[in-house]
Amino acid sequence: MDTASVVEIGRPSVRRDSIWRSLRGPLKGSEYTWALAFVVPYIAVFVTFVAYPVVYGLWMGSEPRLYPELFSDPIYQKTVVNTALYLALGVNVKLFLALLLSGFFMRPGWWMKVLLMIFVLPWAVPQITTFISIHWMLNGEWGFLNNMLYTLFHVEGPHWLNDRWTALGAVIVSHIWKWTPFWTLILLAGRMAIPLEIRDTARVDGATGVRGFVHITFPLLANLYLICTLLSTIFLLGDFNAVYFVSGGGPANSTQVLATLGIRNAFEIAQPRLGVAAVMSALPMVIPLVIVLMRKLRTAQVQL
């Protein structure tokens, strides 16, 4: 390791040495080079492909006059409310379901394997087609859902997409339908990381079922769950597909979210900067999330 002999202390090279040591931390010389080499690929990707676009994107949305124009849009306020609802319900219901299902899928058996394969389908099928399919399914006159309700239960289903709240609900449900498999897999991987000994010990001690979950499993998954929540919120903020294809932002622009409003501004009104401004107006909400995420990633790990 780093042994400094009494002789070396007075020498000027020691100062250089300590700067170097402070830079590389506890790692030995050769290990440090490895560690550096391992991060260089990502740094290169970041500098080449992320730094410029993100800065350019921030610049695009930074003109002050964009914001009064954005706020004066009559649908802006409804859009913000919709976005808040979409995020709150979409993220939390989805992740909670994913948490429960990840426990369910830990069960042994060939049936579980088949079920997991089927369960992954919504994620695998291209979202344009699934969301369009859902849009058609929900049609009030000829849609599959109402056909089914009528054929099986003799119930005349409502016009799902004609009312703001059922349409918004449909969008949220569509999003949950599409993305729960993905987060289930992540949480499933997280559960599998819990060492077998801990799980066995818990079972022997009688901490099974709900008790086992609350006292053993969830605390170990908590950090991963939180990170998933924060990331999912950030992802969902920019996701326009569900709204765009399922409800079209309608009826009468009442189910628009910031992402679809941004897309409309950017590519239909042909004002890309106004589009970026729409999503950036959510930054006041995104920044705190990002800060919490940064803290979580930085804190010293609790190692087992």
Binding site: V45, N162, P251
Partner: protein, 460 residues
């Protein structure tokens, strides 16, 4: 694995990062004699085939090369906007959406192409020539930035078989505006008496999605006398009582039809494709929809529908206004545009000059099976369009080229394009249709919004 030293790892990862910049100079050098052309994909394969043929013929004749990218419709729009925003532009694009001619003309982003249009000056219809111009806010003047290639108009499509099922005759269709559309309300009433619950008389796109609601409302606005809402000088005339009355009547009729149950309830949230799906499923007796895509799409698989069951306009043709005078139709144009900063303006212009020769462009449009209209009246007299056996083409070309026409209003003032994309008229219609708002109040709200939008583009 043992051979991988840390040094080679470090070198390798840095090299990977640097490797990507090598491709640049090669691409730039090749651009000298090639022109990059972007064009929207056609609805039928024949359109693309016709375009490729025209390009190939040009290349043979001139010795220049054209890099043609045929891009699906909606993605092309995003691609064009990305190109213009980022400054890396092709040499020639089609105007997708049509109003980018005016939108980016305002920002002085197009090359003036009046010399190209001059080469066929006498051939173009007057409306086409006007629609190819835009007001440039940098030079404070109007100029011709587009070369008209093809046109589209909004006809009425009718299921003759449903009309006959209701015990009525298509020949009895009235010739005046309100009576014409009221006819279909009677058709629905009769069909309902027969127990047909799921058929509606009118397929009005009372929705805030897509371009159809705007086209629908504007057709009604013009028919009711509101054609001076924006005059040729680009000035907005919302305080004109004729305009206001016409708008109120349009909102009242269209929203009222929905409210009274003559329009499919799901129409309130239709997207661009839903009205066609619904028409196809015979959910409504008639709709007002741009181009002949409804008919062309089923021509191959169901010729009996094309020739017997679906009718364009009906026997008397496109309806007149309530006083009996012909109503000018609003025509949309596809123009060829050359962005400023394009690498090869010369070849782009040459190709355009070649493409708009009547023989070439006429063939191109006809090979599209008549979905698009030509922009030169002489071409409308061709046997293809005047074919007596075809029940749709004659009426369509009459409405869009030979009869009275007018350009869309964003040609005069680009703010109208934003009125369309913000769906201002849709909100008014839906207010009347679903929210129980009186037409006057709905139009007041709409006019207020229109005023705000127009204020963003002050013209000299």
């Amino acid at each position: 694995m043992a051979h991988l030293t840390r040094r080679s790892m470090l070198r390798g990862s840095l090299a990977l990062a640097a490797a990507k910049t090598v491709g640049g100079p090669y691409v730039a050098r090749a651009a000298a004699t090639t022109a990059a052309v972007w064009f929207a994909q056609g609805f039928v394969q024949d359109e693309d085939v016709a375009l490729r043929k025209a390009v190939a013929d040009y290349e043979k004749q001139s010795g220049n090369k054209i890099e043609l990218s045929i891009i699906p419709f909606a993605p092309e729009r995003q691609k064009i906007i990305s190109a213009l925003t980022s400054g890396v532009v092709p040499d020639l694009v089609d105007s997708n959406p049509a109003e980018i001619l005016q939108l980016y003309g305002w920002q002085d982003r197009w090359v003036d192409v009046s010399d190209v249009v001059e080469s066929q000056k006498g051939q173009f219809s007057e409306t086409a020539l006007v629609a190819a111009q835009a007001y440039n806010n940098v030079t404070k003047k109007r100029a011709t930035y587009g070369v008209p290639l093809r046109a589209a108009v909004v006809p009425c499509h009718i299921w003759k078989s449903l009309v006959e099922k209701a015990g009525m005759k298509i020949e009895d269709l009235p010739k005046t505006w309100d009576a014409y559309f009221d006819f279909f309300k009677k058709v629905q009433d009769n069909l309902r008496k027969q127990g047909e619950r799921k058929v509606y008389g009118l397929g009005f796109q009372v929705t805030a999605n897509g371009v159809d609601p705007y086209n629908l409302f504007m057709a009604f606005l013009v028919a009711y006398g509101g054609q001076d809402i924006v005059t040729r000088d680009g000035k907005l005339h919302l305080d004109d009582p004729k305009v206001k009355q016409a708008a109120i009547k349009a909102a009242a009729y269209l929203g009222g039809a929905y409210r009274d149950g003559y329009v499919p309830p799901s129409a309130i949230n239709w997207n661009d494709a839903d009205d066609n799906n619904a028409f196809h499923a015979k959910l409504m007796v008639m709709d007002v929809d741009g181009t002949l895509s409804t008919e062309v799409a089923i021509k191959e698989k169901h010729p009996e529908w094309y020739y017997n069951e679906i009718v364009t306009h009906g026997a008397p043709g496109y309806p007149n206004d309530n006083a009996g005078k012909p109503v000018p139709s609003i025509v949309g144009y596809t123009n060829g545009l050359i962005p400023k900063g394009a690498k090869n303006v010369t070849v782009a212009k040459e190709f355009l000059k070649y493409f708009i020769q009547p023989k070439v462009i006429g063939e191109f449009v006809e090979l599209g099976l008549g979905r698009w209209l030509p922009v030169m009246p002489s071409l409308a007299k061709s046997p293809f369009w005047q074919n007596p056996k075809d029940p749709h083409l004659k009426g369509y070309v009459q409405q869009g080229l030979l009869g009275p026409t007018r350009p869309d209003y964003y040609v005069f003032n680009l703010a109208m394009a934003e009125v369309r994309t913000q769906h201002v008229w849709s909100m008014a219609m839906i207010d009347v249709a679903k929210e129980g708002v009186k037409p006057e109040a709905a139009i007041d709200k709409a006019f207020k919004r229109i005023g705000e939008i127009f204020a963003k583009y002050p013209m000299a």
